[in-house]
Amino acid sequence: MLDGYISDLEKGDVFRPTEFEVTSLMATQYAHGVEQTHEFFHSANNSLSRQVRPITAVHADKMKLLDANCLKEQRITGGRGPDWRIHFEHDAESIEPVFVGDTIRVSGRIADRYWKRGREYLLYEIEVHHADGRLLIRYRDRTLLRYRKNEETE
């Protein structure tokens, strides 16, 4: 179910897409946060001649998508849900780089929600397209809804 907490999401939910322009701050601050000093991420003074956003920053796209679709738990502005989730799997395929100045459209869905060994998981399938329609990143993300086990479901 959309518009509630992240833990309310169900298999088959399709997110309302979010579209925005990638700014220099978005690229440089993410790279700074993980000590990636390659000039690719900090200016256009590199072999691609444009400032690149780290591919792994698709994690931030997921956050933006969740903020736009889970209105009771908008983490970017400090919102909280009943439990803190645990990231289990990151799977990002870069088809083309995301450049600063690009307008991108992030879309996605909940491909699965399931229990395994006493813990509940969400499987996200997310795509990042350029505003002109080109697919830039295909992303799958598996997240535990909470760390604490539910013994009854083991």
């Binding site: 925005f20 700014t23 701050l25 978005m26 690229a27 601050q29 993410y30 790279a31 700074h32 946060g33 993980v34 000590e35 990636q36 390659h38 690719f40 590199n46 072999s47 691609l48 690149v52 780290p54 591919i55 792994t56 920053a57 994690h59 931030a60 956050m63 933006k64 903020d67 983490r75 970017i76 502005t77 400090g78 439990d83 803190w84 645990i86 990231h87 289990f88 799997e89 990151h90 799977d91 990002a92 395929e93 870069s94 088809i95 083309e96 780089p97 598996r142 909470r146 760390y147 604490r148 086990k149």
Partner: protein, 154 residues
């Protein structure tokens, strides 16, 4: 390490990244970077399972744990060091966070080339990845593929 080091890689070659200690500051930097990249404006991370022991313990964890994406980015950095812009243009990075990483643990990114698919104009490098602690125990594992043009066509 140069961005064209992929030319010396073949099946069985090992990749090494920078060994780092997981510190509370690095966890905060990642939180700030992720939120700022999501929000598009400087944003500070608050209390969560990555920044606050008491909060983490309330969620059933022994102490604050690293966001898995921090280690994923250290693996990504290693790929960027070896493959340069080709990692940024056509690649796939898939990692699973199989064990939590705590403050004070020393983490080393490693890779082994498992296959090189040679085609007429390009080569696809497939790499097994791990992020191991000081005892050699993998805490994050995964695989990557990076497509590079063959030197004659580069």
């Amino acid at each position: 390490m140069g961005a064209s080091d992929w030319q010396s890689l073949d099946k069985g070659s090992e990749l090494h990244g920078q060994t780092r200690v997981m510190t509370a500051e690095r966890l905060r930097w990642y939180g700030d970077g992720l939120l700022t990249s999501s929000a598009g404006a400087p944003t500070e991370v608050g209390i969560n399972i990555h920044t606050d022991d008491a909060y983490a313990q309330a969620e059933g964890l022994p102490a604050a744990i690293a966001d898995g994406m921090l280690g994923a980015n250290w693996l990504a950095e290693m790929l960027l060091d070896y493959f340069g812009e080709y990692y940024l243009t056509t690649s796939r990075l898939r990692v699973k966070f199989i064990k939590p990483v705590f403050v004070g643990q020393q983490m080393s990114p490693r890779g082994v080339v498992s296959e090189v698919i040679r085609e007429e104009e390009r080569s696809i490098f497939q790499i097994e990845l791990s992020l191991t602690d000081e005892e050699g125990t993998p805490r994050t594992v995964g695989e990557a593929s990076v497509t590079v043009p063959n030197p004659a066509t580069a």
